[in-house]
């Protein structure tokens, strides 16, 4: 009897003192377990918090997602410590428009142990966890476990290998940040070829719930891995390098792999690369139809016998300085205006009617000069730079002129590079502009140093005069184009004003020819030139009319607005957006040869593609913003959303019919 009472008291006291190793709650049970019944120094041993919960309920991963909270534990271990916590790979739980990361039914949080001495280990944990269905219930409990020491090895519980945990990063794996556009971050995950070729499914989870939205990022398979577009939370953060992600892979052979990996900063040779392309782009500018006449005249001026080597080089450098300075100036103006909130893009000069009219007037004069109706005196030296004296500033100004003339031509080719450069820090942006300038000046500079290259040209003579006269016609063509741009910007009276001005210029030049005194003639011409430009001050541009291009083209094009695009996207329609402007020649060519042809229009309507036109002829901040959202600030830009897709496809600047046709055939192949 006495013994019985003793045992009973002992039992009761041990119940009262010992903490249980499991906790049952209405939605399930959690148990503190060890991976082996005992431990020894030969074998790894781990603790586990093993949850079994009812259907529809879930507990959380370390990033809980849109709502919820991760479980929390506080360990108190004698004769040992936790060396690593392992969170099983979670699942995404969509919940009324939100996404949570967690576990349903059964899971096991794993804790790798390291022991101090060959003695039993005692582990106690203060556990707090939140369990949610739609409503959430937090629980708090204390659990305890004793793990004896035993020299003989024991079996590992299968529970500890039942779930997937992150392991070592596979070799050859790297995850780079590519770029950031407002709320999106583009990254590229590189995987080793063996792994990459063997992937059945791949899922990624951000550990950083403050900066990354829990939605699965948009992913695209590439040759070396995957490209992701992550949706960012609204934070002011701009550097995401070091942000950790969990990657979970199921292979075709049925294996599962998981690992945690941090994003690496974007590869840095980017600037050198952009500079190289800027240089090359600048080179190409030399053969642009609007730059070529100005340059060829300048090059012809080299042919004169009176030039010394030294003079040529100086002249070359002054010209280069003029080009580079103008490019840097333009870049600076662009940066400055953007920083003060103006919505501008490349080619913006032509969005002002006065400037378009001004360049047209300048070219009109230049054309007459090329035709030989008058000789250029000192006042207009810089335009053709025929005379040897004063060539330094003349060369510099030719550089400036060439740049001004080149910019509208550059837009279609340089758009992406310039758009990218504007996202760089300002000194880098200016470096890119300088690179463009240097590229454009390079052939000329090379000629200044190696004038022997000019020997392939016929000996100077009458042909030069003829050649110059012929070059007047591309100039007049450019004038026509500029007037047409003007006609899109202002009413016909404005264009008429410019045409009457041209008539006056013609008359003025004819009158000047009647003057015998050469010096007086030059002065009269100079006055006429200045007056003609000054007259543009009175250009009636107030009557600016918008949307003429929209009105004149077929009715199938809707006027662009972000709201209508968004609602079209929501209803899953296919959309084609044409970012265009009257002054963008490439845009007009694409329109004539491809977009507005009957067969392409039929293709669009057969495939129920909603067509949108964003007309940037006049400055429109909404369109500038939309362009920027595609990383551009120039035209043309063609964006296509296939049916039901929210991912835009950027088409090349130069469209072909087959390119548009492919949009639909590809779609059928991979819906």
């Amino acid at each position: 009897m006495g013994f019985f009472v003793f045992t009973l008291t002992l039992l009761i006291s041990s119940w009262a003192m010992a903490t249980p190793s499991s906790f049952t709650f209405p939605q399930g049970k959690v148990e503190l377990l060890s991976s082996r019944p005992s431990w020894n120094s030969e074998e790894d041993v781990a603790l586990g918090l093993h949850f079994n919960i009812k259907d529809d309920w879930h507990i959380y991963w370390k990033n809980s997602g849109d709502s919820g909270a991760a479980p929390k534990w506080k360990w108190n271990i004698t004769n040992g410590s936790i060396k690593e916590e392992l969170w099983p790979v979670p699942e995404r739980y969509p919940l009324e428009g939100m996404i949570n990361f967690g576990y349903g039914k059964e899971t096991l949080y794993k804790f790798l142990l390291s022991a101090d001495t060959p003695q039993p280990i005692n582990a106690r944990v203060k556990l707090e966890f939140l369990i949610c269905k739609i409503e959430c219930i937090p629980y708090f409990t204390d659990l305890e476990l004793n793990l004896p020491y035993q020299a003989t090895t024991t079996e590992e519980s299968p529970l500890f290998t039942k779930f997937l945990y992150p392991e070592k990063i596979p070799t050859g794996t790297k995850w780079d940040i590519l770029s950031q556009q407002s709320d999106d971050l583009q990254t590229q995950l590189y995987l080793s070829n063996d792994l990459s070729a063997n992937i059945k499914t791949l899922e990624v989870f951000p550990l950083d719930g403050e900066n990354f939205k829990p939605q699965s990022p948009h992913m695209e398979m590439t040759a070396s891995g995957y490209r992701f577009t992550h949706a960012l939370q609204d934070t002011s953060k701009t550097d995401f390098s070091g942000s950790p992600f969990l990657v979970s892979i199921a292979t075709n052979s049925g294996d599962r792999v998981a690992f945690e990996i941090a994003l690496s900063p974007s590869p840095s040779p980017a600037l050198a690369k952009i500079l190289f392309w800027a240089l090359l782009g600048g080179l190409i500018l030399n053969i642009m139809p609007c730059v070529f006449p100005v340059l060829s005249i300048k090059i012809l001026s080299f042919l004169g016998p009176e030039k010394s080597r030294h003079q040529l080089r100086i002249s070359g450098w002054f010209y280069s300085a003029g080009v580079i300075a103008s490019f840097i100036f333009l870049g600076g103006v662009l940066l400055f205006l953007r920083s003060s909130g103006e919505q501008l893009g490349w080619g913006f000069q032509l969005q002002s009617p006065a400037i378009a009219a001004g360049i047209a007037t300048l070219f009109f004069w230049l054309g007459f000069n090329f035709l030989g109706t008058f000789e250029i005196g000192q006042s207009l030296t810089y335009l053709g730079a025929r005379k040897t004296q004063n060539t330094h500033w003349g060369s510099f100004l030719t550089g400036v002129l060439a740049t001004v003339v080149a910019t509208p031509c550059t837009a279609p080719f340089m758009g992406a590079a310039i758009g990218a450069s504007l996202t760089l820090p300002p000194p880098h942006t200016l470096a890119v502009f300088a690179g463009l300038g240097l590229g454009m000046a390079l052939p000329f500079l090379a000629l200044a140093y190696f004038p022997q290259a000019l020997r392939i040209l016929p000996k100077p003579g009458a042909w030069m005069e003829k050649f110059k006269e012929v070059l007047a016609f591309p100039l007049f063509a450019t004038v026509i184009w500029l007037l047409w741009v003007l006609a899109q910007q202002i009413e016909m009276t404005g264009v008429l004003f410019v045409l009457i001005l041209f008539l006056c210029i013609g008359l003025w030049i004819w009158c000047s020819r009647q003057i015998r005194n050469e010096r007086l003639k030059q002065i009269v011409l100079a006055i006429g030139f200045v007056l003609s430009l000054a007259a543009l001050y009175f250009l009636p541009e107030s009557s600016s009319i918008k949307g003429t291009t929209t009105a004149t083209s077929s009715d199938s094009w809707n006027t662009f607005s972000e709201t209508s695009i968004n609602s079209e996207l929501k209803s899953g329609n296919a959309i084609f957006i044409d970012f265009t402007a009257a002054w963008c020649i490439t845009c007009q060519v694409n329109k004539k040869l491809v977009l507005n042809t009957t067969d392409i229009q039929k293709l669009f309507s057969d495939n129920k593609v909603k067509l949108y036109k964003a007309d940037w002829t006049d400055r429109d901040p909404k369109i500038t913003k939309a362009l920027a959202s595609f990383g551009r600030n120039s035209l043309p830009l063609y964006v296509y959303y296939s049916k039901g897709s929210k991912e835009p496809q950027i088409l090349p600047e130069i469209l072909t019919k087959s390119l548009i046709q492919n949009l639909f055939t590809n779609q059928e192949k991979s819906p």
Partner: protein, 198 residues
């Protein structure tokens, strides 16, 4: 050349953002009625700091801050400094935390709420415009109507009341910095708690 530009261009593609509430941008306008039946519009509070608090009486994380008296303390402290405190209930009819206007008034008195008004947003329009995800989810709007803070009430996502003392209170810090004209150290944080029952 063309190819590289294309690659460059495609790396820069991004879709149109469906931006709702953004730090530094005008806070979304709302138009709801409060428990007293009075219309409440954001524009009525031009010139004042406005604090929005998403509320669900049955959420354990809301309970943490009300049962401990922490929420009421912050409410009276900030309204004492001239701020407007709007508690928002976005629970849909039939979902957890939904209350009729009458129940809302009784519940508010029982809680000892020091909020300027309790807004009833049973359609969830206001909550979704702000992107409110959890209860509590906190927002600070400045006198110009610009959103200045969005996120959790404090730095500890435990449901244990004891953690309040050691946690860093984000909404207090943000409001105090804004009122002093200082930069807000933490403008966003990951909100924690139960999901809003839209």
């Amino acid at each position: 050349m063309k190819m590289t530009l294309l690659v460059l261009a495609t790396t820069l593609i991004s879709s149109f953002a469906f931006a709702d509430a953004r730090i530094g941008s005008p806070a979304p306008e709302f138009s709801v009625t409060d428990a007293q039946g009075k219309p409440q519009n954001l524009k009525d509070y031009k010139g004042k700091y406005v604090i929005l608090e998403w509320y669900n009486k049955d959420c354990p994380y809301v309970r943490k801050h009300y049962d401990s008296g922490n929420m009421q303390k912050i409410q009276s402290e900030l309204t004492g400094k001239g701020a407007v405190w709007l508690t928002v209930v976005s629970s849909a009819k039939g979902k957890q935390g939904y209350m009729t206007p009458g129940e809302t008034i009784t519940n508010g008195t029982k809680e000892g709420s020091k909020a300027s008004a309790i807004l009833i947003d049973e359609s969830g329009t206001m909550g979704k415009a702000y992107g409110a995800k959890t209860t509590p989810h906190m927002y600070l709007i400045d006198p110009q109507g610009t959103l200045r803070y969005a996120g959790a009430i404090d730095s500890d996502d435990s449901s244990d009341k004891k953690t309040i003392a050691t946690a860093q209170n984000y909404i207090m810090a943000a409001t105090n910095s804004a009122m002093k004209g200082e930069k807000i150290a933490k403008e966003t944080s990951k909100p924690y708690g139960c999901s809003v029952k839209y």
